[in-house]
């Protein structure tokens, strides 16, 4: 089933065809011709028959939804949307008393963020299926999601950071995940921070922070923070193999512009990739060579024993200043406004993607080490040594396409780079720097992702394009469209488009991992005998009601299909009522929901063996129903109760009952 395609002509036409293709993209608009490169057997390659499972989990950023969505590959079926930085009325995340602390920051409770880059935890440089990290770009945070529960386990706020974009990339054993500030800012006391914007060069600084997740608990803390010249940090990746112990960050705005960056930060032919020796930084930190500075930030952690999140407010951070501590960071010139910063599986090559450059520079770690040893510098930038471009360069991929953004690897010596402006994926050989293949994407690809594609040992098989523009790819849904991803086979010499699938929010980056590495960790329910929630009811015997001033606490249980107690009286206007609901079920996939008429709150969705708390401030006198929202059995519609609300000051006796024809004991 072949159609005459612009894209096919492109491949045949090589470099000349490329320019013709660019001509069709004039005026900043993607080419929306209904081109398709799908071959006849694509359906068979993505079909996962009913009752069967996908080969890979695909963790996709929810972008400005603030969440992390999970898909199966190759089917593109959506499996779950995990609440991370944003409230989720479906699960009660951010609405239940237990989860509210997860979203606490020094600015107070924040119900939203802009999440960008999922990064799977690693062991020996390979994703291990234990955790997935994701950054919050707007109010700088990093979240850790437990892949046993598919729930957010901890969130740390990053002080002295403004726009946590260059994050949360991991070291080879997840000793650290990093945060690099997108926007440099003045730091320190109020007086030091209250300065004219035009004093950028003098007062604005960048930071990169190394966050340590505790291997057992998943609690996160900031190990150290490195001060850098004022610039914008974009993306980063850890070294591996020979470059283990180093971290590479792309930096743009070496012009240090603070207004109309579109023009003013695009003046220099080259910006930088920053090479950072994190082993050295770790050593300096250990030797007490850093400086502890006041910095308030939150570290939130979900305690699985109490089913309750806890917030810890931290007061200081350990800072390292490379102007005083030698051999910590080096700049490598990189054309032009680099975005992606990707390290190949061998750890020798670092690919900078200058999004405004018509080439892709590849740096050689061996040459970087030689240049450092020989002090082969072309100068310094704000006191930081700048290595000579030619001395650290493996070579350049010439005319790969327009707008190179990100690169991933197949583990067979090939790199795949996304081209935003020319809307395509370009495959090239790392050693030879030769373009081998190109396929169009629909439209304007941002990140791309290969299973394990930023690790030491990629699983390969597919590359997924995460596109910035959807246009006409799906049935139209008014002005706002679903975001779009596209799956390509990379098994053969030529990439092959297999499938389009819609995503939530802007998908940004994503990572995939064989399902077999995740599935054995799955938690199916919580053991009720290990539930240490202070208001747990281990059985209906422990349910009841208690008044503490105007606070009323109700301990309630759910099981198919009744709530105990289900007749509550003695509540008065002015009371604040807490329902502590324990789900007594001990089997997989039997959650119960809980909702109250008129509550200015979402529902609770309580997993088997879990206790969740619903806060309710009654505002009208009368009988108010509550019920289970999640169809649980043939008698789900009977799973309900009544609560009587009396006027303030009334003396109706406080009772909580379940009236059965048999007490059961």
């Amino acid at each position: 089933m072949k159609r005459p395609l612009l894209s096919t002509a492109l491949v045949l036409g090589g470099a000349i065809g490329l320019f013709l293709f660019f001509n069709t993209l004039q005026g900043c608009r993607p080419n929306t011709s209904q081109a398709s490169a799908v071959k006849g057997d694509a359906a068979a390659k993505t079909y996962v028959k009913p009752g069967s499972y996908d080969e890979f989990y695909n963790f996709v950023s929810g972008g400005f939804s603030g969440q992390l969505s999970v898909y199966g590959l190759p089917s593109g079926r959506m499996l779950r949307n995990i609440p991370v930085f944003s409230e989720d009325p479906q699960s009660g995340y951010g609405f239940s008393e237990e989860t509210k602390p997860m979203l606490m920051t020094t600015h107070g409770y924040i119900p939203w963020d802009d999440s960008h880059h999922p990064e799977l935890s690693q062991t020996d440089g390979v994703p291990d299926g234990k955790w997935c990290f994701i950054n919050g770009n707007n109010t700088p945070r990093i979240a850790l999601i437990d892949l046993g529960t598919f729930r957010t386990k901890s969130i740390i706020e990053i002080p002295n950071c403004a726009g946590n974009h260059s994050s949360p990339f991991t070291t080879g054993n997840s000793e650290y995940v990093v945060s690099g500030t997108r926007f440099s800012i003045p730091m320190g006391t109020d007086a030091q921070r209250d300065v004219p914007i035009e004093t950028y060069r003098e007062n604005f600084k960048g930071t990169v922070s190394f966050i340590h997740p505790d291997p057992e608990s998943g609690k996160m803390s900031i190990a150290f923070q490195i001060i850098t010249p004022g610039m914008n940090f974009d993306l980063s990746h850890a070294g591996k193999g020979p470059s283990e112990g180093w971290f590479f960050f792309s930096c743009y705005n070496s012009e240090q512009a603070f207004s109309l960056l579109e023009v003013n930060a695009s003046q220099h032919d080259k910006d930088y990739v920053m090479a950072l020796n994190w082993k050295k930084a770790e050593q300096y930190a250990k030797e007490g060579k850093g400086k502890k500075v006041p910095a308030k930030y939150y570290s939130n952690w979900y305690n699985e024993e109490t089913h309750t999140a806890e917030s810890t407010v931290l007061e200081e951070v350990l800072q390292l200043d490379p102007r005083e501590l030698k051999d910590l960071i080096y700049f490598m010139p990189c054309p032009k406004s680099p975005h992606g910063c990707d390290v190949d599986p061998t750890g020798r090559y670092i690919v900078g993607s200058g999004k405004l450059a018509a080439l892709i520079p590849v740096f050689d770690f061996e040459k970087i080490q030689k240049a450092i040893a020989a002090n082969d510098l072309e100068g310094d930038f704000m006191g930081v040594p700048v290595l000579k471009y030619e001395s650290v360069l493996h070579g350049e991929v010439k005319k790969p396409g327009l707008g190179p953004l990100h690169t991933e690897f197949d583990g067979k010596g090939n790199a795949y780079t996304s081209m935003f402006v020319s809307s395509e994926i370009v495959k090239w050989n790392i050693e030879r720097l030769e373009v081998l293949d190109r396929v169009p994407t629909y439209y304007s690809i941002g990140h791309l992702s290969i299973p394990g594609g930023d690790s030491k040992a990629p699983w390969g098989k597919y590359v997924v394009a995460y596109n910035k523009i959807t246009k006409d790819r799906f049935l139209p849904t008014g002005p706002e469209l679903a975001q779009s991803a596209q799956l390509y086979s990379i098994d053969g010499d030529k990439m092959e488009l297999l499938l389009d699938f819609p995503t939530i929010g802007e998908p940004h980056y994503a990572q995939s991992i064989p399902a077999d590495l995740v599935r054995p960790r799955e938690v199916k329910f919580f053991d009720i005998n290990k539930n240490m929630h202070p208001y747990v009811s281990r059985g209906e015997k422990e349910t009841g009601i208690e008044r503490k001033g105007n606070e009323v606490h109700i301990k309630m249980t759910t099981i198919r299909s009744h709530l105990t107690p289900d007749n509550i009286e003695g509540i008065r206007i002015g009371d604040v009522v807490y329902f502590h609901v324990t789900n007594l079920e001990q089997d997989w996939d039997v959650p119960h929901g809980f909702a109250i008429k008129g509550a200015r709150n979402a529902e609770l969705l309580i997993m088997p063996g879990e206790t969740c708390t619903f806060k309710w401030v009654p505002d009208q006198v009368g009988i108010v129903p509550f019920y289970c929202t999640d169809f649980c059995s043939a008698l789900h519609q009977e799973m309900q109760g009544y609560i009587r609300v009396s006027p303030a000051g009334s003396n109706v006796k406080l009772t909580a009952e379940t009236r059965s024809f048999d007490a059961g004991s």
């Binding site: 499972y53 007594l584 089997d587 997989w588 009236r659 059965s660």
Partner: protein, 154 residues
Amino acid sequence: MNTSRWPITTTLFVALTTLAACGGGAPANPSATQEGTPDASSGNATAKPGLITAADLTLGDINKDMAAKGETTYDVKCQACHSRGGNRVVGPGWKGLTTRREPAWIMNMIMNVDVMLADDPEAQKLLEECLVRMPNQNLTKDEARELLEFMRTL
């Protein structure tokens, strides 16, 4: 928490009369209903673990320690649906249950309820009556055995 501060007064109330009148409406093949639990390891058809047989169980005089442990499990995981008396709440009351049902059948209903509801005519008859699939409360074999011992005291 002091349970005396958490009084639940449970009064007799004929609330489940509608339930009693609903027998016979169950689907012919309970394993194919949407509440069925597919086997997690294969993702395909339900696998059938070995059921407990009479030969697996030895019943002597009632062991009070085991019965006491069984009662603790009952309070947490069973009481919400099963009374100690003879009447049904959600599922059957337990009074005299061990004289009506074989011990192995009871153990299998506790531990292998999905298989029982798929294959066992008596279990299917109960579902038609109660209309709520008995939950698998994920008891260990020891816990189930203790529960059986507790049932024998009723």
